[in-house]
Amino acid sequence: MNRFSKLAVQRRIAALFVAVSVLTLLLLLRLAYLQLWHGDRFLDMALAQRFSPVPLLPDRGTIYDRNMVPLATSISAEAVYAVPVEVEDPVRTAHELAPLLDVDADWLLSRLEQNVRTVWLRLKVDPETARAVRARALPGIYITERPQRFYPHGKLAANVLGFAGIDNQGLEGLEAYYENVLKGTEGMLVRERDATGRSIPDGLERRIEPTDGLDIVLTVDHVIQYIVERELERGVLESQAEMGIFVAVDPKTGDILAMATYPSFDPNHFSDYPPELWKNRAVTDQFEPGSTFKVITGSVALEVGAATLASTYVDPVRLERWGGVVNCWRAGGHGEQTFVEALENSCNPVFAVMSADEIGPARFYEYIRAFGFGGRLGIDFPGEGTGLVPRPTPNPSLQWANVGFGQGIAVTPLQMAMAVAAIANGGTLYKPRLVKEIRTKDGDIVEARAPEIIRQVLSRQTAQEFISAMRSVVANGSGTRADVPGYRVAGKTGTAQIPEHGRYIDLNMATFVGFAPADDPAIVGVVMLYKVHAQPSWGGTWAAPVFGRVVEEALEYMGIPRRYETPEPVPKEKVVIPNIRNLPAEEAEERLAAAGLKVAHEGYGSYALDVIPVPGTVVDKGTTVLLVFHEEELPEPTIVTVPDVTGLSMRDAAFALQEKGLRIRIQGTGVATSQFPAPGERTPSGSVVEVQFSSPGTSAP
């Protein structure tokens, strides 16, 4: 028994030895297999786990305005993303996360149910929100940190700045144009890490520092930009236009002080807006300029000696020449008028003759090109439009007669602004400048860009003469509403027809080009209100006041003092007929009555077209003057109920009133807090509803 058991034990030991040996052999074979056949792969994997390189992302350059106010900046912020397959209960997760991320639960649920590996739920999350999301510890929901682009002023200058995408790459506007300057160079950190991903102290480390992107300093002034955007919005909504553009330029340097398009978008949430709103139409789009182009025709006529300020013209009302007809916009015409009066009256036949006959197509073409039309000005912005200038015909033609008053030619708002700036500064065409400096994060200037002259287009004397004519347009002509007491505004109105599919449509583009102060211009502006639905859709009615309001605030901000003109002494019992062109009917009548004049009416309308005798004429006190209205169609005798617009944004309030056939007059900014007439009142369609706006939750002052 004892012997048996001893043998059994020995056998068991032997068996165990064999088993262990076999096992060891197998392990050795496995080890050899792994080492010899797959050693390199596993070595790589082990190294990758221990030394996985982490990219060191550079800081994207900041974009500043001309006063070093940041308009676009990058900070390292957190973003929430989901791995849909790991989300256990999408419905519950969506409902828990939606209030934290301030997004719609249904939208969130649709994201969580997508069949993708990862999906972004919210970018640019503030630290409190990130903490709240972390605290929930929802399965499949993660937070990552990454440098992200912020635009602290929201929509301000959005069409100029453009935006950077999720991966911090410039996609639109200046962000795209200066991508190579702003983005910097990525670095890398290789550091030994343990299994949990933590850095091992005294472990191996290799670091390649990133190079931060360079900062850009713009010529844009954020205060003027804000004024421009606010007034442009008001102008678009009041005129019931579909779109508006404003370009403000410093005529002495070619610096772009402001450039705005309305409606615009918020670059912080660019994907919430349709792509057509991302465009900077002031640079990329081209339009028929209409009567504002008469400043080019008129100044060239003076330059080549085809006209003087004292030249006289007789308005033929209907000019049948060059195989076609050019009509004066005013029924009955303007009679005999001087060069300046023709500009004040914006008389088409006069400028048609000036272009086709007196200057001549070939010569006029050269000057038009010299003003920068028909080619790129070289602004540092993507997608600059060239405009369209017809080739000159050997003989005077209807096409070139039309060019004289701004038809049959296409220009970009930027080209128009730079051309007017050339007149304002004494005849020098500057290259538009949007970026003033490129500098490092430490403030060292890498590149300073000086103003660049393209060419001298007009002589200083011609420019000075023409400026006086443009001043007269505002003082005595159609640009009344652009005038600002003490700031001597000079300009020209335009009401351009809009061509679509080969013919002009019923809607117009109300425009104004001008500058101030006329004797020492500090700011040039171009206003375009596209497809104005309100009637009358004149530039002097809608675009000129936008310009006036912008210029008044901008010049005050720039510290330019007002200088009041001393009126000519008028003999006793005599009065000067005030300029009431394009004013609302009631205001025009008030001004005439205040001057001691009696008023007779011709036509019907809500805005004064003209007064006879013309403004500036000295007459006896008590004289009856004829107040002429545009031939507006009498509105349908419909009575509408005034809708309640309180609590609505400017845009929504304007649309709500427009739907009822009512007009809006805007006071203040923010949301609508009160209105007159009150909601529910019955009023004729076409009436003006005055709406007071202020910030939400507060009463109007």
């Binding site: 106010v69 940041p70 900046t73 900070i75 390292s76 912020a77 503030d126 630290p127 940190e145 912020f150 602290p152 002023h153 929201g154 929509k155 301000l156 933590r198 850095s199 102290p201 005294d202 954020h222 205060v223 804000y226 606010r230 007491p485 003490g486 008044e552 009041y564 203040g668 900014t669 923010g670 202020s694 910030s695 939400p696 939750g697 507060t698 002052p701």
Partner: protein, 163 residues
């Protein structure tokens, strides 16, 4: 010889204890060696433990430092975010909204102020050789003063007519 025997006996008698002592010494040496080895081993172990302990401590400190660095990074990020909030609060749209809505401020009217040059007016109105003044009543002086100043005061009032 006897001496020698004695000597040898003596020697024997001496040798025997000597041999015993040697064993003891060897034993003692071995013990000493063992003790030394043990001591060395203990010392080595202690050193190893100290080293491991130090390494562990350093590692713990390093991890703490890493965590603190992360906190610093978080704080810096939060500071950046707050700076962004400040920039957003400085945006003119926000400032105007607060000014008009919260503080009840209104846009200023374009008021024309006329600065009255009092010294020039007085100098021009003073006669070259002042005539002796007749004594006048208070009402007459007040009427004169109002007649002189009223139009100017009217022009200088805030909210005067725009030109």
């Amino acid at each position: 010889m006897i001496m020698s025997n004695r000597t040898s006996q003596k020697t024997h008698s001496v040798v025997a204890p000597h041999v015993g002592t040697g064993r003891v010494r060897r034993k003692q040496r071995r013990v000493h060696e063992a003790l030394l080895m043990a001591g060395c081993a203990v010392a080595l172990l202690a050193l190893a433990l100290v080293y491991v302990g130090q390494r562990t401590y350093i590692m713990t400190l390093a991890y703490k430092a890493d965590a603190l660095n992360q906190s610093v990074a978080d704080a810096l990020r939060e500071r950046e975010f707050l700076q962004l909030r400040i920039a957003q609060a400085h945006s003119l749209a926000h400032v105007e909204q607060v000014a008009t809505g919260k503080l009840g401020m209104v846009r200023p009217e374009a008021t024309q102020y006329v600065v009255l040059d009092e010294t020039a007016r007085i100098a021009s109105s003073e006669p070259a050789t002042p005539a002796p003044e007749k004594p006048r009543g208070f009402i007459a002086i007040a009427v004169d003063w109002v007649a002189q100043h009223w139009p100017r005061l009217e022009t200088a009032e805030a909210g005067g007519e725009r030109r």
